[in-house]
């Protein structure tokens, strides 16, 4: 049948032209080429370079004492920063959405500050506050707590940069669910603590989960702020991200690539979790 149609030039030409136009979809070609060159190709390349000489050098590099310590320190950052920022985030979101108090709008603006500040400035700020010669830092040193160039300062830096995520994810969800159910719960005699656990928290759980994942990704991957306050002592104040930099500086490319791979796998897990929570949310 198609050959019959093709015999009539006018009708035959039309679908051909349409097909040609569909093949030359300019936005798709431009968009995907850009993504390919900027994202996909470099990611493929670093994977290739990491495993160029097989898996043994990668395993050797990741099982050194320094690498193990870096991995442990990275987990320490996450274990401390994520719960603190989650509790702060949920409490602050509740206060901003459900309560009226003086200075609320100032607080609402100030919460986003960590997003607007360069990580290096975060590090500098912490040194100025908690360095051994600084006002607060000096007092702390007198009481036996050293912050800068120790994991304590690195935890502070991690908390600083990942602070707004949970607040920002939970606020819109709280606004959307409204107060009806909470009011019903209180009318039925539940106290505010019970209302929070039984009514509010289940309703905002996916927002919280999404915020936690973003906080975790940032805490795992922070480099600039942690770098400034760490003092970069290999095997002592070195997280995985700092180890990538340190190995690179020592021209140990396999070391740098291997540590990067561990971070990249964690990033991929984060991405997967983000997609799952996004679907659950909608």
């Amino acid at each position: 049948m198609s050959s019959n149609v093709g015999a009539i030039p006018r009708i035959g030409a039309k679908p051909k032209r349409r097909r040609a136009r569909r093949r030359l979809n300019a936005p798709r070609v431009i968009g995907l080429t850009y993504l390919g060159l900027l994202l996909a190709a470099p990611v493929a390349m670093i994977m290739y370079r990491t495993f160029e000489d097989g898996i043994t050098p990668v395993i050797d590099s990741l099982t050194t004492a320094e690498a193990q310590h870096a991995l442990w320190l990275t987990f320490l950052m996450v274990i401390i920063a994520v719960p603190l920022n989650t509790i702060f985030g949920v409490v602050m979101a509740l206060l901003l959405v459900r309560k009226r108090w003086p200075g609320k709008w100032v607080m609402n603006a100030l919460i986003d500050l960590p997003f607007a500040v360069s990580p290096v400035i975060v590090g500098l700020a912490l040194i100025l506050a908690y360095g051994n010669n600084a006002s607060i830092g000096g007092w702390l040193v007198d009481h036996g707590i050293e912050v800068i160039f120790t994991p304590v300062g690195m935890v502070l830096a991690t908390i600083f940069v990942s602070l707004p995520f949970v607040v920002r994810e939970v606020i819109p969800v709280l606004k959307e669910i409204g107060t009806e159910q909470e009011e019903a719960s209180e009318t039925l005699g539940a106290n505010s603590w019970q209302t929070f656990w039984k009514v509010t928290l289940p309703a905002i759980r996916w927002g919280v989960a999404y915020g936690v994942v973003l906080t975790m990704a940032r805490a795992l991957g922070e480099f600039g702020a942690v770098s400034v306050v760490s003092g970069k002592l290999s095997g002592q104040t070195e997280t995985l991200t700092l180890r990538v930099d340190e190995r690179f500086e020592h021209f140990d490319m396999i070391g740098a690539y291997s540590a990067s791979m561990v971070l990249a796998v964690m990033a991929l897990a984060t991405l997967l979790a983000m997609n799952i929570f996004k679907k659950e949310d909608s």
Partner: protein, 259 residues
């Protein structure tokens, strides 16, 4: 509820101890030696050159993001092709990937051992590329939901009245996307101005060539020149703040004049 004042107190203290007091100390440190010291710190040839480079690169990055971010959002919403879901989740990769890994990843392909002979290490092009990598999601993720909500009726009417695809996009779609594009652009600019991890390996930190302000501040901190570091930090914060305000004014002005 009786718990509210206690909650406000604890939450405010937490924010103050970690964020507000340290940041306030940066501002006060920058003026510690008086106005002259502040001015000398930010007007030294090296400081001005880093500030100029940072602003120029950030503006280039924002311009590219406005175009490419809109194109990519368009493709992800209006186009259909195999593997679209995968591409869509790939967009978030720069947010999930640690910045130092992003820099190393770009160097693995566009570095000294590039199979195509493109060596962007220690160049301004490499710097811009690293900033493009980390700012990719901002415009895409701002435009995408707006584009999804957009009714196709007006576009179809425009095309049936004989307007070309591009004219329809420019006159019908783009005005609706403008606020979202500007919002994404503002976030991308702020991020580009302060980015450190992604550029530190690729830029090579060559003064007057590829040294951006964040890297310069880092080197000032390392050499214990804290007043100068604080002064440049303040300038960086002010520039980012001014641009964010300008962008929000611009989008309000555009909305009022229906541009």
């Amino acid at each position: 509820m009786s718990g509210a004042p206690l909650g406000i107190g604890i939450a405010t203290a937490y924010l103050s101890i970690i964020v507000l007091i340290p940041l306030a100390l940066v501002v006060s440190k920058s003026t510690e030696g008086g106005w002259d010291t502040f001015w000398n710190a930010i007007s030294s040839p090296q400081a001005t050159s880093t500030l100029k480079l940072t602003v120029t690169c950030s503006l280039i990055v924002v311009a590219v993001n406005i175009v490419m971010g809109t194109v990519i959002a368009w493709v992800l919403v209006r186009d259909e092709f195999r593997g679209k879901a995968l591409v869509n989740s790939l967009i978030d990769l720069p947010f999930a990937l640690p910045t130092i890994v992003a820099g190393l990843t770009l160097l693995a392909l566009y570095g000294p051992k590039c199979p195509f002979g493109i060596n962007a290490a220690y160049t301004k092009a490499g710097l811009v590329m690293a900033l493009l990598f980390v700012t990719l999601p901002f415009v895409v993720r701002a435009v995408q939901p707006v584009l999804m909500e957009l009714d196709k009726d007006m576009e179809e009417a425009s095309e049936s009245l004989g307007a070309s695809k591009f004219t329809t996009f420019r006159r019908i779609v783009l005005p609706n996307l403008r606020p979202a594009i500007l919002a994404g652009a503002g976030l991308a600019f702020a991020r580009a101005m302060g980015e450190f991890g992604a550029v530190v390996l690729i830029s090579g930190n060559i003064p007057f060539e590829t040294q951006v302000s964040s890297v310069f501040i880092f080197s000032q901190v390392e050499s214990n020149n804290l007043v100068a570091a604080a002064a440049i930090s303040v300038v960086l914060l002010v520039v980012a703040l001014v641009v964010l305000v300008l962008i929000s004014l611009l989008s309000r002005w555009a909305a009022r004049h229906e541009l």
